[in-house]
């Protein structure tokens, strides 16, 4: 008997980036399958292929025994293959119930029937009072439930949930989980992409783990999570061996505990005042709070790393310091100066260099021009020449590429250019956001080699990484962020062997 959904050999590349290499698995009727994986694993790309947004380069997808080929998204939805989106997608010009009705109308229901059906679904999700309200003022959790209700109106056979649970309150979570379980009993199947591993463990009978475009492990959830390949995928190879032996913590409430309860080794600051000080930082995107009060310091000459699972808020901290995000509450100060509300181009001028996630290449400018842009205008020629020489000696591979457009560089070369560019401004502190992302292991070693050299020259570094091994090896101190708060901090050696680190990533 064929499964409801059969995915065979799916491959997808975007230009030179191979997002999916070979994905093969299936989803049966009446089942709930969890899909997890670190940042960049390809989960969203896979969902987009399943719903027809992208066409795969290779392999095929069969749904209910039928090859989906190039069938359009709307058609697939009407066949019973539906999805929700990571960000809520409310229909602003309609009331909540009308927004939900849309799904039923597309299936062929009359306006009247659709309204009744929508009312039933809203009631079962606890949203009856919101039925005639506008979605504009509702909290994220409600909006996500509305999205969920809308796709349910299509009487789907397979529901792809793309991080539905993020932003839901405890009670909303219970409601949704209950609804999913009931629907699964009645015949629907679910493919649940999540980072909240407690949810995954409760819901799914099967768990698939992806990393870098392939399936790393698949099977029964508790076994899969303990699989060393899975741990390696999330934490990086060097830490993996150590953590595999640690005992799993007892399963408790699915919610994050407060950071006071979890900080095991409070760091006592000693010596001179910190270079960078972040106090009680609260910020977010699109009205959704991502950081709920973060404290962090970096002292002169130190290398500090920030670790945490995907979505925990690590990059958000750096972006807030660089004024790419407003600080809703809290304070950021650098060398004693309050930089919480300065203009976006100011941090570079006070001495903070930034190497963003994805490198932030000025693609159409040449390598040399990128480096020039990193230097400060009106700066002395001598300083420029000196910095250039230092950068080129750190990254000799760039010397021969000075005239090339940055777009033509390989990933590793771009990373080196990005770091070099940040150094051109003689920064007092360098922020790096996931420098190893998307790079082959030997390139990562090369980059970290350069960072080690930088560190030994006395440069202060604040590093965000998802893979822990190399980051902990390089840094003096570490912070671990989970759910928008710091849950663990201390000297790197202490943090490495603390089982809370593993908990933050794997939620065991």
């Amino acid at each position: 008997m064929t499964a409801l959904l059969e995915i065979k050999g799916i491959a997808k590349s975007f230009g030179a980036v191979r997002s999916l290499v070979d994905i093969t698995f299936s989803v049966e009727d009446h089942s709930i399958v969890g899909l997890i994986g670190p940042n960049g694993a390809g989960k969203s790309t896979l969902i987009n292929i399943l719903t027809g947004v992208y066409a795969p380069d290779g392999g095929n997808v069969q749904f209910a025994g039928r090859n989906l080929g190039r069938i359009a998204t709307a058609e697939r939805a009407r066949l019973g293959l539906v999805r929700t989106f990571q960000r809520p997608t409310p229909i602003l010009d309609l009331s909540c119930i009308e927004g939900v009705m849309v799904g039923g109308l597309a299936r062929g229901l009359s306006v009247g029937k659709a309204r009744n059906a929508a009312l039933d679904i809203l009631t079962s999700l606890g949203l009856r009072e919101a039925a005639d309200q506008s979605p504009r003022k509702l909290p994220t959790g409600h909006l996500k439930l509305l999205d969920f209700a809308r796709v349910l109106m299509l009487a789907p056979r397979l529901v792809l949930l793309d991080e539905l649970m993020a932003g839901l309150s405890f009670s909303e979570l219970e409601v949704v989980l209950g609804a999913i379980e009931r629907l699964a009993d009645r015949g629907a199947s679910f493919l649940v992409v999540e980072h909240l591993l407690d949810v995954i463990k409760r819901l799914s009978r099967r768990l698939v783990v992806m990393d870098a475009g392939i399936i790393v492990a698949a099977g029964e959830p508790t076994e899969v999570i303990r699989d060393p390949r899975v741990i390696e995928a999330y934490l990086g190879d060097e830490a993996g061996a150590v953590l595999v032996e640690a005992e799993p913590a007892p399963v408790s409430s699915p919610l994050a505990l407060s950071s006071e309860e979890l900080i095991s080794t409070p760091f006592k600051s000693a010596g001179t005042g910190p270079m960078l000080e972040v106090n009680d930082l609260v910020t977010g995107y699109d009205g959704i709070e991502v950081l709920h009060g973060v404290d962090l310091i970096v002292k002169e000459g130190e290398t500090v790393c920030i670790l945490g699972a995907n979505g925990a808020g690590k990059s958000t901290i750096l972006r807030a310091v660089m004024r790419q995000l407003p600080c809703w509450r809290g304070r950021v100060s650098f060398l004693g100066e309050d930089i919480t509300n300065v203009k976006a181009f100011a941090p570079a001028h006070v001495g903070i260099g930034y190497v963003p996630e994805g490198r932030g290449m000025l693609a159409s400018l040449s390598v040399r021009e990128n480096l020039e842009m990193g230097a400060h205008p009106g700066g002395a020629r001598a300083a420029f020449a000196r910095n250039l020489e230092r950068v080129l000696s750190l990254f000799p591979a760039l010397v021969s590429r000075l005239g090339d457009a940055a777009a033509n560089l390989s990933g590793g070369q771009q990373q080196m250019l990005a770091i070099g560019r940040a150094l051109m401004g003689s920064p007092k502190l360098v922020l790096l956001d996931e420098p190893s992302l998307g790079l082959a292991p030997q390139i990562v070693s090369h980059v970290y080699g350069a960072l080690t050299e930088l560190k030994s020259s006395g440069q202060a570094i604040l590093l965000v990484e998802q893979t822990v091994g190399k980051a902990l090896a390089l840094s003096d101190r570490a912070y671990v962020v989970d759910g928008g708060k710091v849950v663990l901090t201390g000297p790197s050696d202490n943090v490495r062997s603390d089982k809370l680190l593993r908990d933050a990533y794997l939620g065991l």
Partner: protein, 323 residues
Amino acid sequence: MRRALVIFAAWMAAAAAGLLLKNDYFASVATAMAFLALWAQSWNLLCGLTGNISLGHSVFVAVAAYVTVILFQQAGVSPLLGGLLGILGSVVLASIVGAATLRLRGPYFTLATLSAAAVVLSLILHYSQLTGGPSGLAITFAQDSPFDLEFTNVRAYFLIATGLLAAVTLFLDFLKRSKLGFYIAAIKSSEEAAAAAGIRVALVKVIVFCLSAALTALGGVVYVFYIGFMDPNFLSGLTLSVEIALIAVVGGMDYLIGPIIGAIFYEAIDVAANATFGASGGWDVMLLGFAVVVMVMTEPRGLCELTIRLLRLIHRRPARFWS
């Protein structure tokens, strides 16, 4: 239902007022207002949906008008039938343009619609034996012939224009609560989510484009018989397209009667300028343009919202008749 009655009553009142008007000048202003409002309403159906700005809607006026008049004068086809064919012609054009511009947004969409109108204008000017070229075709008649859309009393056109306006407004109101209206709202918020909910986004967009064109064309057919001559540079011109668009925007794209308010505003300036200076001399265009600038900078959603805000301040209860 209640809304329908209100709209009908409003039309009756306006029609009566218009018929009773002694002054021919005011009657012509009121008629122009009705046509502009009709076109702005039709434009708003498309552009209120997509958030794109079409600057080519005059082309639907022109195509329908020329088809109707050419068939009438050269082949003796009654304008009632010819009008239908003219509207059909506009719809065909709209389906082509709509399908071609599906993936375009923002300035690209605007420039594409502008170009479509310019191409048609050039073709009209070129095939002058058929279309009369730059001087256009003249429509003269000595006596009434209702089935030929010929009325010697210009008030008749006023009646028809306002009737059409009322009908179109009613239709748009009805559309909002129909399945299509739901789909339109969904697409406006998120095309991705709409597709994921089973809505055939491309089809809906093209249908809306065609509907918008058809309604515009309807006005165009009656308009040429009212005016009595055809100036292609006006009928398929950028100026008319811009006027239509800005009138809807100034009135309020989010409101059912927004475009009507915008048309009243525009013609009111004309009247005021005429009264003060004896000629309109650019005042209407100037104030329309600057009103839009002020609006964009201060962010109210048109005169409708401004009025509502004022009324709220005064009465502390929102005015009705908004959607």
